[in-house]
């Protein structure tokens, strides 16, 4: 009996070790990124937020580019994705749902390099023609492509959140004579909105971290557009800056690229943590009340 017990303990210990592996990876990633980035923070100092990458090694332009592309992507993905989620969970009949759900999953599964390829071959010439741009390789193209790529996440999160709203609440509303749409608008959606918001922060992370598609449709330029709002020009984005400049970088520039990685890592991690905490609270709320 005693022997068996100790064997159980060993097994549990092994599983704990395996489970802790994720923590180690996170630690490793952060440690190695930070180790390589420290010289950049020390030697570049405050200039790291300057928009001039070529001379001052500033990442300001890239951070701005990331914000513009992510913002544009979310402007597309949020309304459409939440609409799609409401359609899937509340409006669509069972068989339409059974067809659409896997299709949305397929949309999520398409590799980003394929999105980038289609974006550069089809979307970019289209944009060049339709907006008479000097060239369609632009932040706008990046925002559009990333928006499409973020859609499936927003859809499935909205769908899940709406589905998890207790049935009794909806039925009570319907019993009071509200139409299904009034129920969705006034009861189901508000109840699910905190869940949608919590999950949607993951969408922000995904859009920020997308690399290949951005690199292929925005190009690897370092010069930020003069105006904040000039989405019709190409500009640096954190991810494409790393991917496009890694090869040719030498000296301090390598460290600055690692610093860009650190920025990305920190922003995305904060997003994940916020989302996790919010989801935990929602779970608690639904369990408690």
């Amino acid at each position: 009996m005693k022997k068996k017990l100790s064997k159980e303990h060993i097994i549990q210990g092994i599983f704990l070790l395996i489970a802790s592996f994720s923590i180690f990876i996170i630690f490793f990633i952060f440690f190695f990124l930070f180790k390589e980035a420290i010289p950049a923070f020390i030697e570049v100092g405050g200039d790291i937020f300057s928009t001039d990458f070529s001379n001052e090694l500033g990442l300001g332009g890239a951070i701005r580019g990331s914000l513009i592309v992510t913002g544009g992507a979310l402007l597309i993905a949020y309304p459409l994705g939440i609409g799609g989620g409401i359609f899937l969970s509340e409006v669509a009949s069972v068989w339409i749902r059974r067809i659409l759900k896997p299709i949305i999953e397929v949309l999520a599964g398409i590799p980003s390099v394929v999105y980038g390829f289609i974006g550069a071959i089809i979307l970019v010439p289209f944009l060049t023609d339709s907006f008479r741009m000097i060239s369609g390789f632009s932040l706008l193209a990046g925002g559009l492509i990333i928006g499409v790529m973020t859609l499936p996440i927003i859809i499935s999160i909205s769908d899940d959140s709406l589905k998890s709203v207790p049935r009794e609440i909806k039925e009570a509303s319907l019993a009071l004579g509200a139409t299904p749409w009034q129920t969705i608008k006034k009861v189901t959606f508000p109840a699910a909105s905190s869940g949608i918001f919590a999950g949607a922060t993951l969408g922000v992370g995904k859009a920020l971290g997308e690399t290949m598609a951005v690199l292929m449709v925005v190009s690897a330029i370092t010069r930020a557009p003069d105006s904040w709002f000039d989405i019709f020009e190409s500009g640096p984005v954190l991810t494409s800056l790393i991917a496009g400049h890694w090869g040719e970088a030498y000296g301090l520039k390598v460290n600055v690229l690692f610093a860009a990685g650190v920025f990305l890592f920190i922003i995305v991690s904060v997003m994940s943590i916020i989302s996790e905490i919010m989801q935990y609270r929602i779970e608690k709320k639904f369990k408690g009340g």
């Binding site: 994720s22 459409l80 799609g84 550069a120 920020l208």
Partner: protein, 425 residues
Amino acid sequence: MRNVFGKIINTKMLYEYVSLQRLLFLLSLCLSCLYALAGFTIVATLNYIGEDIYGYLFLIFGICFLLTGISSIKINKKKSVRILIFSLILFLIVFVSTAYPSSVGLQDYGLSASLTYNMIFSIGLIIFGLIGALLSLGALFNFKPLGNQYGAYFLLVVCMLIILYPLVIIIGQVTINGAPGITWEFLTSDVRGLGESGGILPAIVGTLLLMFIMFVIAVPLGIGAAIYLEEYAGGHFMVRVIKMAVSILRGVPSIVFGLFALAFFVPIFGISFLTGGLVLSFYALPMIIRSSAEALKSIPQGLREGSLALGATKWQTIRRVVLPPSLPGIITGVVLGIGEAAGETAPLLFVSTLIIKMPPNLLGMVASLPTHLYTLFGMRGGLGDEVEVAARMQNAWSTALILLTIILILNVVALVIREKFRKEF
């Protein structure tokens, strides 16, 4: 029989329902949908229909809604005023359209683009078409809540169609352009030249090899972690920390994994398959943990308690009672996780090669379908004349098709397993 028929469609009701007024509302609705569709088609295909036609289009639209507004005053004054205002806006557009330049330069506002007359008005068609559809739907249902509901549902359907549009474009284009290049030879021969001739066998083998490495490394780690989280730890503090770590790891951008590979794995394993496989394993790990944990969670608590009550140890319970029924769910997650990681390019960006022969061993550079596609994309205009460039482009499309097919097959496999699993329970 007549009785039944009469019950379903009361002739008197029918007459009441199909009045001239309603036909007018229906006409506005159809016109709105048609306009929105036309606008969308024009924008999507860039086939402009000529600048002078837009004025007439909006004029017809405006007249239609003017009539709709007037005839609906009796039903609901407030709502009909809205329709009238809408029609006035449409007339205003007609008026403006006659005096508009053919394109508006945005350069003065610091934007490097111009909006053409055509673009503005086709987008206008979409927007006003959708608004018109909503307003006329409302009128059609006497401005009752039901009308609102159908309006909202209409918008949601439009939403869904817009969502599906890129999917159709991507799969359609890749299939149409990629299919002609796929021959047995393309699938089974080595890469030749700069990718313009020969096949993609090394890339296919490379991707399968990467999947295999992921399977060996990420799956035991992932399932093990899920077992600890769901079976052993309970509400332990450690669980919160690990779950947090998993969700952070899930969000780490793929390019950061690439940097990590450079800083950590490359000094140890060199630029090699092992590095590529390891970094992709780490990338796939959180997805596998998450889905495995969910599969384990779905096993009823009673099964575990029953087994424990019979004197089985915890580990025996997990091995014999909990794992077998949750295996389909776990496999689904594993397949999806590995599929997603196998499609990633960015982590492999710094360790890949346009390999000519089959990968010689695990210490060779990485050949994989996504990086091969990216290289072909980069080289598409590269060295050579038009014929070579076209051949390279063809190979790029075909590579994209193969990559997409593999991902789709994995998705379908996952779906089938999950559906089967559902039936069992």
